[in-house]
């Protein structure tokens, strides 16, 4: 069984919201559209988005980090939003695990949004039906697109390569390897919803330099017992004395 999903690398996400705008652009004019904006230039602009980037400050100054956190529907493997839907408008596809809403069946009762702990569903105020990320289901299978473009719009737009798309059930897929080897995790694991989307944590690259790496034991100059006074020699990298 296939389970398509996104892996989002919080280590490289710069919070530019390119994924947000490209998602809106693609989907508002696509199958899921329109994604209505209410009063876009008014006092209280709001509208439908499938994906939003939020920012969290972690720690106390000066030990702080800004974590930019993109969030869209996680296409849970045990989606609590699906069984509660009274009309069957919300469903999970057998073939690829994408959770979708049938906009022609939805009655806009909002019950599914209550049942999603992640706040991933938003009602469209104009169409009065529930909307959410479709993983660009109308793109990823489109044979008229070049194969490299058969990916969600957000993935193609990300300048930092922080969004990776693939099948998390295939152990050898890029996403599975990333989850396995880079500490990929799920959000709110306590509810057993088994989100398909995973996040890669912030990782600090640290180099451990041991003394023997600085002082080469096999330095030929040592062997020949030659001493060079390198105090006066300036070079860009400080190794000019050798």
């Amino acid at each position: 069984m296939t389970q398509l999903a996104l892996v989002i690398d919080l280590n490289t996400c710069v919070g530019c919201s390119a994924c947000v705008t490209s998602c809106k652009e693609w989907n508002t004019s696509g199958e899921a559209g329109p994604m209505t904006d209410m009063m876009p230039y008014g006092e209280d602009p709001h509208g439908t988005f499938f994906n939003r980037v939020q920012s969290f400050e972690v720690g106390t100054y000066p030990n702080t980090q800004m974590v930019h956190f993109p969030k869209s529907c996680l296409h849970c493997e045990e989606p609590p939003c699906v069984p509660v839907c009274p009309t069957g408008a919300s469903y999970k596809r057998e073939e690829d695990g994408i959770v979708l809403v049938d906009y022609d069946k939805c009655i806009g009762c909002k019950y599914c949004s209550w049942a999603c702990p992640y706040g991933a569903r938003e009602i469209d105020e104009k169409q009065k039906v529930m909307k959410k990320c479709t993983l660009c289901v109308d793109r990823i299978y489109d044979q008229t697109l070049p194969e490299t473009e058969r990916q969600p719009a957000c993935v193609l737009a990300c300048p930092a390569d922080a969004r990776i798309f693939g099948d998390v059930h295939d152990p050898d897929s890029e996403v599975s390897v990333l989850i396995r080897e880079q500490g990929g995790y799920a959000l709110m694991p306590e509810w057993g919803t088994k989100p398909a989307n995973h996040y890669l944590p912030r990782r600090k690259i640290e180099m451990h330099i041991h003394a023997d790496e600085l002082e080469r034991a096999d330095n030929p100059l040592d062997k020949e017992d030659l001493k060079i006074d390198d105090k006066d020699i300036t070079s860009v990298d400080g190794f000019g004395g050798w």
């Binding site: 939003r52 069984p83 509660v84 009274p86 009309t87 939805c106 909002k110 992640y118 009602i123």
Partner: protein
């Protein structure tokens, strides 16, 4: 959660309707057991059923305002296997239909017993329909309660107390209305309905206090740490990904202050339980219609505040992603 008036009126109004029907049928059982004198079918049961039906219809009407696409409401019965909402959508018309039939059977005077069990219990059409309607009425309380209790993320709702509260508050308000109704239509039953109204209101109070007590304790399962997966005690949200708010900042927000919610709690304790209990006790000894009417109105007003608080007081884990604007 955002308290939507459509759902507030739906749940309180159908509660009264269900409670009133249960009261009527209790009256029938009592008279079968010869604890109270036989009542007039048309005047008491048929009119009473019509009144109960009126409340259910009003509740149903209110529910349509909750839907974005009411014209598709018929679709909402399809997933009854998994969705408590779909189950309610089926059971509510069922209850309405059975109560209508019950009233009709009384209206037409179908009270000739089919047979008599052990020479003491005459079984007629109204008794059979009444039993079915009673079953359906309790089922409806369960469905309505489970719509909320089954959302395990909302800890204030995810408890059997939710179902008990809906049942007892609906029952209490129905019996208070039945007391008022019987003052005009069946004066012999006032005491019986009145005492039951007091008993139910009292138990409703105990159960509602229990749920308030429960909800004031315990900690939410999800934290900001588990929500974004960063292990650090100090995480402050700097942006929610929306300039002017969104569906998420409205639907899951009470739109009220903790202070107002606290005030609402005290108000409904007073209005739904304490005042009606006192007023009913006085009204019963005075046989006072205005006082009974007053108890009913006060309790209804209180129930609306109670249901408002039920929503406003519930916290959704998605709010962890929307902590600051």
């Amino acid at each position: 959660m955002h308290p939507a008036y459509s759902v507030i009126f739906l749940t309180t109004l159908i509660g009264v309707g269900q409670g009133l029907f249960l009261a009527l049928f209790t009256g029938q059982i009592y008279s079968l057991a010869r604890l109270v004198p036989q009542q007039d079918s048309t005047h008491f049961y048929a009119y009473g059923s019509a009144l109960a039906l009126g409340f259910l219809v009003l509740g149903l009407l209110a529910s349509f305002f909750h839907l974005g696409r009411p014209e598709r409401a018929w679709r909402s019965a399809t997933k009854w296997r998994t969705s408590w909402l779909a189950r309610e959508v089926i059971v509510l018309p069922l209850v309405m239909g059975l109560i209508a039939l019950y009233g009709l059977a009384h209206w037409m005077g179908f009270t000739k017993p089919f047979f008599t069990i052990s020479n003491v219990l005459p079984v007629d059409l109204t008794l059979l329909i009444g039993l079915a309607a009673t079953g359906a009425t309790f089922l409806l309380f369960i469905c309505t309660g489970m719509i909320y209790a089954s959302i395990r993320f909302i800890r204030e709702w995810a408890t059997p107390l939710t179902i008990l509260n809906f049942t007892f508050m609906g029952g209490a308000s129905g019996f208070v209305l039945a007391t008022l109704f019987s003052l005009f239509k069946a004066p012999d039953l006032i005491k019986m309905f009145g005492y039951w109204a007091i008993i139910l209101t009292f138990f409703a109070l105990v159960l509602r206090l229990a749920s308030l007590w429960r909800n004031a304790r315990g900690t939410p399962k999800s934290t900001i740490q588990s929500a974004i997966g960063v292990r650090h005690p100090k995480i402050i949200q700097k942006s929610t990904g929306a300039m002017g708010g969104s569906f998420n900042t409205k639907e899951f927000n009470s739109g009220s202050t903790p202070k107002r919610i606290r005030q609402a709690k005290w108000s409904f304790i007073l209005l739904v339980f304490v005042l009606p209990l006192i007023l009913m006790a006085i009204a019963l000894s005075w046989h006072s219609a205005p006082l009974l009417a007053l108890s009913f109105l006060i309790q209804m007003a209180g129930l609306i505040i109670e249901r408002w608080t039920f929503f406003a007081d519930a916290t959704h884990p998605q709010n962890l992603y929307y902590q600051s604007m």
